[in-house]
């Protein structure tokens, strides 16, 4: 067989951000018309790889990369996204790059509008040439035709279903004259199944037109359906590159998740049967930007630690935020048999929920206040505690506040100069411990903890995880533990619900296999 030159070759790519190796020795070759899947968990290095390919400023400003990029067999140095586009590389981003009030046609030709002379340009010069709306329509129609999509170029994109927005994005890239490689970043992440299918068919069609497609996705089903070749990245390493014909969905899932596990929590599973239901969630929908929940049913048993896992953007964070009423929420939640008033943080706290938010800096604490005040304020406000009362006058019981704070500082090993230290001067891990103490002081029946180990070092991480387990054992409080790190979920949880596409994909025991977790996360 004659040698075909790959459209794009990336050879031995490496990249470090301030000494932290995020990509190491990653290589891939994409042939003309090939559908090439790139998959891996969040943080596996997919976006860094794309940033390198597009010459994004983040790369050059942090010391560039190592390795070679070849387009059509020739080595290139791409310094700006425009250069990548000039080489014929198009990219459809995960978030839509569409102007909401514009029509389909206007969006396809955005900033590449065909122009013609008009009255104003004759007087004031070229800058005021008229946009040729008829030509826009014709060009747009031609591009949409090539995709095989029936769509009116006059339609306002805002009114289109999400799936069609994706088509417009692809049509725009196709309209750029010389596209030979199209990168699609999780094109089906926000689509319904039927729409996703059409997108996949479009991908196949593009490949028949001779355009190579680099498909970034974690949906294993899609990879099996469309791709010719798959490369799995994990922790910045090229784990494996395989022909789809030679592999199985199970193998891909295992390679994607697989890492050595620390001790998985062992519990007598019969114990969790026949237990009282603490929180029952029915058809929960939460409109949290970027973490939309679209219909979750879940029972949380009294006294258990229920983990909520899944990939970023799939909606796992929306569950706790919805229960606390922080984002617009619909559906039904009952707490120990009593219905909970939705969209009201106050009534959620009244129902004895306490929340350690994933957004530590914004919602977790008041940075300028002392450790002790941060810990006790919610209890003061909601339970009227830590006060000395003189008739109508209340005074803060400073002694009690200080004692309580000292107790938790010791118990959680918070590194500080004393209870009066400002929280903003603590390290991330110690701030997180303050947040947990604060939540516990509310004496909750159900504790919601979201991403407690995000952005803190390993030592602090294990203390936080230990603390969560211990609180659960000692006080019997029910815990809903949301985390994007599967490892830590498996360490502390009794059951783990994997959220994908805003719904619960599966509920697994912590000792389930990597393959099972991988498939659930991949939405299959």
């Amino acid at each position: 067989m004659a040698e075909i030159t790959p459209v794009l070759s990336m050879k031995n790519i490496g990249k470090a951000f301030s000494g932290n190796q995020v990509l190491q020795d990653v290589s891939l070759d994409i042939m003309p018309g090939e559908i090439y899947a790139l998959c891996g968990e969040n943080g596996a290095g997919k976006s860094t790889l794309m940033n390198i390919l597009f010459g994004m400023p983040v790369i050059s400003s942090t010391g560039g990369y190592t390795g070679k990029v070849l387009i059509d067999g020739k080595e290139v140095q791409i310094k700006k996204p425009q250069e990548a586009i000039a080489y014929g590389i198009g990219m459809v981003h995960q978030e839509f790059m569409l102007i909401p009030g514009f029509t389909v046609g206007e969006n396809i030709k955005l900033n590449r509008e065909p122009l013609k002379n008009g009255a104003l340009s004759r007087v004031f010069g070229k800058q005021l040439r008229n946009v040729d709306f008829e030509q826009i329509e014709k060009d747009a129609e031609a591009s949409l035709d090539r995709l095989g999509v029936e769509l009116d170029p006059h339609a306002d994109v805002e009114t289109l279903p999400v799936g069609y927005m994706q088509f417009v994005e692809i049509a725009r890239e196709l309209d750029k004259s010389n596209v030979k490689l199209l990168i699609l970043d999780e094109p089906t992440a926000v689509l319904a199944e039927s729409e996703a299918e059409i997108v996949l068919d479009i991908i196949k069609r593009l490949s028949k037109l001779g355009i190579a497609v680099l498909l970034i996705t974690h949906r294993i089903g899609e990879i099996m359906y469309v791709a010719d070749t798959v490369t799995i990245l994990r922790d910045g390493l090229n784990v494996k590159t395989m022909k789809i014909a030679d592999t199985t969905a199970g193998e891909i899932a295992e390679l994607m998740v697989g890492r050595e596990l620390v001790a998985v929590k062992q519990r007598d599973r019969d114990e969790s049967e026949n237990k009282e239901i603490a929180v029952s969630i029915k058809n929960l929908r939460v409109d949290m930007p970027g973490e939309r929940v679209s219909g979750i049913n879940l029972d949380v048993y009294k006294g258990e630690i229920l983990g909520i896992g899944g990939l970023a953007g799939q909606g796992k964070l929306g569950v706790a935020n919805g229960i606390m009423g922080i984002y617009p929420t619909f559906g039904e939640i009952t707490v120990f048999g009593k219905p909970l008033k939705l969209n009201s943080p106050k009534s959620s706290i009244g129902a004895k929920f306490a929340f350690v938010s994933e957004d530590r800096k914004q919602q977790g604490f008041a940075p300028d206040l002392s450790i002790e005040m941060n810990m006790v304020i919610p209890a003061m406000v909601n339970h009227d505690e830590f006060f000395r009362k003189f008739g109508p006058f209340h005074q803060i019981d400073k002694k009690k506040v200080e004692e309580t704070a000292k107790k938790y500082i010791e118990e959680f090993q918070i590194r500080c100069t004393g209870p009066k230290q400002e929280v903003k001067s603590l390290s991330g891990g110690n701030q997180q411990k303050v947040c947990i103490a604060k939540a516990i002081l509310l004496q909750p029946d159900v504790l919601l903890v979201s991403e407690p180990t995000r952005g803190i070092d390993i030592g602090a991480k294990s203390i936080v995880l230990e603390t969560i387990s211990r609180i659960n054992e000692e006080t019997g409080v029910t815990i809903l533990f949301t985390s994007s790190e599967l490892g830590e979920l498996r360490q502390v949880c009794d059951r783990i619900a994997i959220v994908s596409g805003g719904k619960v994909a599966d509920i697994l025991p912590p000792d389930a296999t990597n393959e099972e977790f991988g498939l659930a996360m991949g939405g299959k």
């Binding site: 102007i99 946009v131 409109d287």
Partner: protein, 420 residues
């Protein structure tokens, strides 16, 4: 959507103008003033303010909100008027030269304002408002101190001490210089019915051109053709109807200024079809997406502010040529607030504004502004209330309109998230 839903949709979309139209009707009724008097005043007020309100459109389209910074444009206009007064130029040439000067000054001010607003994206409205106050300080410094104090010259515009420009400047020679251009000695400020026939004929010719030459056979053009013809007929009937003689006598329409206003509307409309106009729309809808498509967002925004400031400058000159005396230090101060109130009443919002809304808003606002003091006085039988009422009407409008818009967008958002 059923017919009921359609009606509700229409009511919801136009709730602000409808509400204020009701206020206007009540105001007209209680003011006890005759319709011809009110109409005559309204025709003049529209003539004075239309351009100033129109100047707000482009920044809204570019996503920069309501540009309170048109105060800068108003100041530029006054700079032009002060200079031509010092140079003792008279009549229409004075107006035209003042406009030229004002356009240069306004372009410069608009450029600086645009630069500044680019540093404060997302807070353009409050920034442009404060910018107006700040520029007012510089303006006063220049005309109270530099003029005569540093740059020595003699002019009867200077205060008796020889330093600083007088508080009020009489623009006698310039009054009505544009409103009433004499063509071969014939006045172009005509009665209501002649004006109706004139503009009717103008529109009729335009739409005939569209339908016959450009072959736009759409329904809306045929309807507009009909309306133009009806306008001519109504004008002709009114002209000859003795019952309407009060209207004929009292209401005088300044044709040339109205032509200028129509001209600016057409220019804005044509401008929106150009590449630059398209870029402004893109930037206004989504800055990030526009930038990622390679549109130079900052430059487009500066251009929008420059154009807005220039139109406002022309507007302020037209304002004073109609009024005849210029208030040197306070004339520009409230321009921003009044015009914003006007366009909001017309149904515009921080995100969306059209020429139609600007025109409707100018009419409603100034009708209310005109009748509210008298109406209040009559309703509460207390002459003190009238003046206050006007203030309440003006600032209340801004608050109510903004609240109604916020309420509407919340309803829309809720509907949207319920669909999910």
């Amino acid at each position: 959507m059923g017919k009921n839903g359609k009606v509700r949709g229409f009511l919801g979309k136009n709730i602000v103008p409808l509400l204020f139209a009701c206020f206007c009707a009540v105001g007209v009724y209680y003011s006890g003033t005759g319709i011809p008097t009110i109409l005559s005043d309204l025709v003049n007020r529209f003539d004075r303010n239309a351009l100033l309100v129109l100047s707000l459109i482009l920044p809204v389209i570019s996503g920069m909100g309501l540009n309170f910074g048109i105060v800068l444009g108003a100041m530029s206009g006054q700079v032009g008027l002060i200079l031509v007064s010092i140079w003792k130029i008279q009549g229409l040439p004075a107006i035209l030269i003042a406009m030229l000067i004002a356009m240069v000054v306004a372009s410069f001010c608009g450029f600086l304002a645009g630069k500044m607003l680019n540093q404060t994206k997302g807070q353009e409205m409050i920034t442009s408002m404060i910018l107006g106050f700040f520029a007012n300080g510089i303006y006063q410094f220049i005309f109270l101190f530099i003029a005569g104090g540093v740059i020595k010259f003699s002019s009867d515009l200077l205060l008796s001490s020889g330093i600083g420009i007088k508080n009020t400047i009489a623009l006698d020679s310039m009054q009505y210089a544009l409103d009433d251009i004499k063509i071969f000695g014939v006045s172009t400020k005509v009665d209501l019915f002649t004006a109706m026939m004139f503009f009717g004929a103008l529109f009729l010719l335009y739409y005939l051109f569209r339908v016959l030459v450009k072959k736009n056979r759409e329904k809306k053009y045929r309807i507009r053709l009909g309306i133009s013809a009806a306008l001519i007929v109504a004008g002709a009937v009114g002209y000859n109807l003795p019952a309407l003689v009060m209207y004929k006598m009292m209401v005088r329409v300044p044709i040339p200024t109205y032509l200028v206003i129509i001209g600016v509307c057409i220019l804005i409309q044509a401008f929106m079809k150009t590449k630059l106009g398209q870029d402004m729309r893109a930037v206004g809808h989504d800055r990030k997406v526009a930038a990622s498509a390679g549109i130079r967002v900052d430059k487009v925004r500066i251009q929008a502010i420059i154009l807005s400031t220039v139109i406002a400058a022309l507007g302020q000159i037209i304002f004073y040529q109609n009024l005849g005396t210029m208030d040197t230090y306070y004339g520009h101060e409230k321009v921003g607030t009044y015009c914003v109130a006007a366009i909001l009443i017309g149904g515009a919002s921080v995100q969306k504004a059209t020429i139609g809304q600007a025109i409707l808003g100018t009419l409603l606002f100034h009708l209310l502004f005109n009748v509210s003091p008298l109406a209040a006085q009559n309703m509460f039988s207390n002459s003190m209330v009238g003046g206050y009422f006007r203030m309440v009407a003006c600032y209340g409008i801004i608050a109510v309109a903004l609240i109604l818009h916020a309420w509407r967008s919340r309803v829309d958002r809720k509907k949207k998230s319920e669909e999910v």
